[in-house]
């Protein structure tokens, strides 16, 4: 009974990982593959995977000023995240990771973002006023 409910109700999540910038292109790809496999093996489904590549950090992490970002949206049962987190914690190449639970608006937003539409405006008020703070 309990297993049935967890299987039918897949929750959307988003995982953002910062790998160390010292990784080679291949290592970066294999690391991504490793975690996508981990998700799919545990009954999850990848919705979208985005290798954002090398980006500068807002502040240094582990004395490094850049990081290899990787963003993946997936649907999985809640217990998958714990497995993922353990594996990511053991991985030396990961500087930081974060799993965000996505609600229906977030899923919608991400879909739209991928298509390249910046913002949604409700038809009633399409007033673009950029109120800047003093």
């Amino acid at each position: 009974m309990a297993t049935e409910t967890t299987e039918t109700k897949l929750q959307s999540y988003e995982l953002m990982v910062i790998f160390t910038p010292v990784l080679a292109e291949e290592e970066y790809k294999t690391a991504q593959q490793k975690f996508t496999d981990l998700i799919t093996k545990n009954g999850g489904a990848i919705v979208h995977s985005d290798a954002m590549g090398l980006r500068s950090l807002a502040y240094p992490i582990d004395k490094k000023t850049t990081g290899l970002y990787w963003l993946v949206e997936y649907q999985a049962a809640g217990n998958v995240n714990a497995i993922l987190e353990v594996q990511m914690g053991r991985d030396e190449s990961i500087m930081r990771q974060m799993i965000t639970r996505l609600d229906k608006y977030a899923v919608e937003f991400n879909e739209r973002r991928r298509k390249g539409i910046k913002l949604v405006h409700t038809p009633k008020n399409v007033v673009e006023t950029e109120e800047e703070e003093a």
Partner: protein, 88 residues
């Protein structure tokens, strides 16, 4: 006619008649505040990277909370700095 003009000077002149603040999320129909969009979140931060109060941004409480969590997430992932100077 002259009377009305006199009354004008008797009462204190309104110096600032600024437009009413509004919640931009409600007005534009934005339902989700994305933590990945650092440029957008910067609108709610001051030069030191601190969050601006609702008093200034005009956000509704619901969305101020969402902005706060988004900013905190962005800081964790090094998309926004915790402390800085001259961000803008």
């Amino acid at each position: 006619m002259a009377k009305q003009n006199d009354i004008k000077y008797l009462s204190t002149a309104r110096v600032d008649n600024r437009p009413k603040k509004y919640c931009r999320f409600k007005k534009l129909g934005i339902k989700y505040v994305d933590y990945k969009d650092a440029e957008f979140l910067k609108k709610f931060l001051n030069e030191q990277g601190k969050m601006l109060p609702r008093r200034i941004t005009g956000n509704s409480l619901k969305f101020q909370r969402k902005v706060a969590t988004a900013v905190k997430k962005a800081r964790q992932m090094a998309l926004l700095p915790y402390v800085t100077d001259l961000m803008k």
